[in-house]
């Protein structure tokens, strides 16, 4: 089984996102690895991409961005512009109302193997709609090539399961790489809030809100967690505090220093909304603070690319072992373990 790590785990879920901690941490290799090995005779698979993908050349590093190779029978979601550039024979099954800078998102089935540039929905709700539509078309597993950056509006956390790609591109210092990766894994593993809170808070897309001990929802007017002015007035009966946007250090610090409020449950949409430093989070938790999320993906595995874009190479085996120990999950260097 070691020859095909975590492929069977993926099959337990109806959606998967593959997320890279940084460019060149091997996210695309991981996607290729997964797509090449899924048993298509048993599962109908669809794949799309979110984020600022769309150019054939990586904007940051100027390295060539690979087209994804699809197998015959796979479904894919991409923009109209990239659909027209496809290098395979495919059958259109849906044209959505979801529009991106490259046109609407279309869904098609590959009738031959071949190459395609993926550029799917660019918002979280658009991604959720795309995933729901694929299920209507009989898709068993939707795979999202996910970006993890402030620039991406769509959150990969809407998928049931997740694979995280890390590597020397994130840090070439081994212990720093281990620590920083472990921190992100901790965030991914943050537990979900109660069903009641999820129902109440999910529709709220912006602002800050709190739920009192009677379950009544209140909005904190004019407040964003980024602003320095946030004041916690008249919130004596606050049981849950919800930050719909980004959670940042200054807010967490302010909350920690409020003796009354730091004990309440702090809820964020998902782990991609948390932009706090490990130190600040540790202090918050030490003071009795708790963070929960509305959406969470089950982290299946972590992959490592030990080579940095500058050419520096970490010891693959040592990196995998150390991260694995820190996060208590299997860690793979796919290039090494599979020769892909």
């Amino acid at each position: 089984m070691l020859a095909v790590p975590f492929i069977n785990d993926i099959l337990n879920y109806d959606s998967l996102s593959i997320v890279g901690l940084q460019k060149n941490t091997g996210k695309t290799e991981c996607l290729k690895y997964v797509l090449a090995r899924l048993p298509l005779e048993r599962k109908r698979v669809a794949v799309t991409s979110i984020g600022i993908d769309g150019e054939t050349t990586d904007q940051v590093t100027r390295t060539q961005k690979p087209e994804i190779v699809l197998r015959e029978g796979m479904y894919f979601g991409t923009s109209e512009a990239h659909y027209r550039q496809r290098r395979l024979v495919s059958e259109l099954i849906d044209v959505s109302d979801e529009s991106t800078s490259l046109g609407r998102v279309v869904t098609a089935k590959a009738l031959t193997q071949g190459k395609i540039l993926l550029s799917g929905p660019s918002s979280t709700s658009g991604l959720q709609r795309w995933m729901r539509d694929t299920r209507r078309h009989g898709i068993d597993l939707a795979i999202v090539d996910g970006a993890l950056s402030r620039l991406s509006l769509a959150s990969p956390a809407v998928s049931q399961s997740m694979i995280l790609a890390t590597g020397a591109a994130y840090s070439i210092n081994m212990s720093q790489l281990v620590q920083r990766t472990a921190f992100v894994v901790d965030l991914i593993n943050i537990g979900m809030t109660s069903e009641g809170n999820i129902a109440l808070l999910s529709p709220l897309e912006s602002g800050m809100w709190w739920i009192d001990t009677d379950g009544q929802l209140h909005e904190m007017e004019g407040a964003t967690s980024l602003s320095q002015q946030v004041e916690f007035h008249g919130m004596d009966r606050c049981a849950t505090l919800y930050v719909a946007g980004a959670l940042v250090d200054s807010f967490l610090e302010k909350l920690r220093k409020n003796k009354q409020l730091r004990q309440v449950e702090l809820v964020v949409r998902d782990f991609t909304k948390i932009f706090v430093t490990p130190q600040q989070l540790r202090l918050f938790e030490k003071a009795g603070g708790r963070i929960k999320v509305l959406q969470k993906s089950k982290l299946i595995a972590v992959t490592v690319n030990p080579t940095s874009p500058s050419g520096y190479v970490l010891d693959s085996e040592a990196v995998c072992d150390k991260i694995s120990q820190a996060i208590n999950l299997p860690v793979y260097d796919l290039l090494k373990s599979t020769d892909c």
């Binding site: 015959e72 259109l92 099954i93 031959t112």
Partner: protein
């Protein structure tokens, strides 16, 4: 005038439109682009269709309705594609997919409607030939690509691709040329059906709109109006849906009113908080709903067709134009007077004109306005608190405070005498007694002075 031009009217037309459960964005856009009807036959026909939709909505199984609504959700705005087809510019795969998707959808919806004898309400073009062109293998699935069966050579090339993935890029290029020829051929074949395709698209929007309007009629208990030919309008148990909704939410009851007005001025007087403004809002709303073919919020309605509808509500300031509330109001009423000089069927609803200026000049302005408009052939409904001489105007008064509560019904009165209930009402609102008592004293003193003189 299109619906989208009046959607923000202060009569709260938007509330009615937002309440329509339309299934596709295309249907909404289509509805907003519809022209206001001013022709009797057209309005008559639109209510005939709506009546059929209401019968349909009332009689069908919920599961069947859901099936239909689900189909209608799939309707996309493919007008650009239709335009390209009309110009015979070669359609690409995505556009061909859109045409095929529409053809299959409209055939399915047509079948559903035919089973319920609704095919006479909205005629949906049969697009069987379009489907045949785009579905050469007879799969009846709304998916599309340049099928192997369009060309033997294409089929061979694709077989070769699967056998030799190494040569794929080369073979794809070769296939691309053939595919383009197929697209040119398909576009040519489809071009002769372009009118049918466009009609089918619009018909689907009409079905969506018809079902949504019909559900609104049933849910909000709206009525079908008759068309009045003598320029007068008459409503029984008239209500404003938004106000009614708000009151019901607060656990309170809405009191509907009866009202009729002719092709001449009608003056409404009455106490503050007596619902005069709501009556004007509702009359404006009903006139617009009528001429855009919606159900009417009343138990019975007979409505005259108008070419132009003016609703002047005094408190609109125009900050962008730098006009005060008085100036904005004067301009609006001026437009009514100008329009009254044209030979058009006109309805003007004017709420408390000149209320923001001093009562002496205000009274003079309103009195003169009534005189000017009385000489014109138009329907005018105007509210006021000023004591003015009604002349030939038909006068209505809100019944007002009745056994400690407000009675909103309108009663006919001979003259335009305005009620003096402001202080009583202020008292009932619990306003500071030092203020109100002093006001009453002032009033008594001035009355005594007048009688002494």
């Amino acid at each position: 005038m299109q619906l989208k031009n009046v959607i923000e009217s202060p009569c709260a037309l938007r509330f009615m439109l937002d309440g329509l459960d339309l299934q596709s964005g295309f249907a909404r856009r289509w509805l907003l682009d519809t022209e206001m009807m001013t022709c009797e036959a057209e309005i008559e026909a639109s209510y005939d269709v709506l009546r059929q939709f209401v019968d349909f909505v009332r009689s069908i199984e919920p599961s069947f309705l859901n099936t239909l609504l689900f189909r209608l959700q799939g309707v996309k705005d493919i007008r650009t594609t239709v335009k390209n087809l009309r110009q015979q510019s070669t359609l690409d795969d995505i556009e061909l997919f859109e045409v095929k998707h529409l053809a299959i959808l409209s055939t399915e919806v047509a079948k559903l409607l035919k089973n319920h004898n609704l095919d006479s309400a909205v005629e949906i073009q049969s697009l069987d030939e379009v489907i045949t062109i785009l579905d050469p293998d007879g799969m009846k699935i709304a998916s599309f690509y340049i099928y192997d069966s369009y060309c033997e050579q294409l089929k061979d090339l694709r077989i070769a691709m699967r056998k030799n993935p190494d040569k794929q890029d080369e073979l794809l290029l070769e296939a691309a040329e053939i595919e383009e020829e197929v697209r040119i051929d398909l576009t040519k074949k489809l071009h002769s059906h372009v009118d049918d395709i466009e009609r089918a698209l619009i018909a689907l929007a009409k079905v969506d709109i018809g079902v949504a309007k019909a559900r609104q009629v049933v849910d909000q208990e709206l009525c079908f109006p008759t068309i009045s030919n003598d320029g007068s309008s008459c409503y029984k148990a008239l209500f404003h849906p938004q106000v009614k909704d708000a009151l019901n939410r607060a656990g309170r009851h809405y009191q509907p009113v009866d009202i009729s007005f002719a092709d001449s001025p009608t003056l409404i007087t009455g106490a503050n908080m007596g619902g005069k403004t709501v009556v004007l809002k509702t009359l404006t709303l009903c006139q617009l709903l009528f001429q855009f073919g919606f159900g009417i919020p009343a138990s019975e309605a007979s409505i005259a067709i108008k070419d132009e509808i003016y609703f002047c509500i005094g408190d609109e300031q125009s900050i962008e134009k730098g006009l005060s509330s008085f100036a904005a109001e004067m301009k609006n009423i001026d437009a009514v007077i100008q329009a009254s000089r044209q030979n058009r069927r006109l309805l003007a609803l004017i709420d408390e004109p000149a209320r923001t200026t001093n009562p002496t000049e205000g009274t003079a302005l309103v009195q003169a306005l009534l005189k000017v408009l009385s000489t014109k052939h138009m329907s005018l409904v105007m509210t006021t608190h000023y004591d003015i001489e009604p002349g030939t105007a038909h006068c209505l008064r809100v019944k007002g405070f009745d056994n400690g509560s407000m009675n909103y019904s309108l009663v006919e009165v001979a003259g335009g005498e305005v009620p003096h209930e402001a202080l009583t009402i202020a008292q009932s609102l619990g306003i500071d007694s030092e203020w109100i008592d002093l006001a009453r004293k002032e009033l008594d003193e001035s009355k005594q002075q007048t009688s002494t003189i």
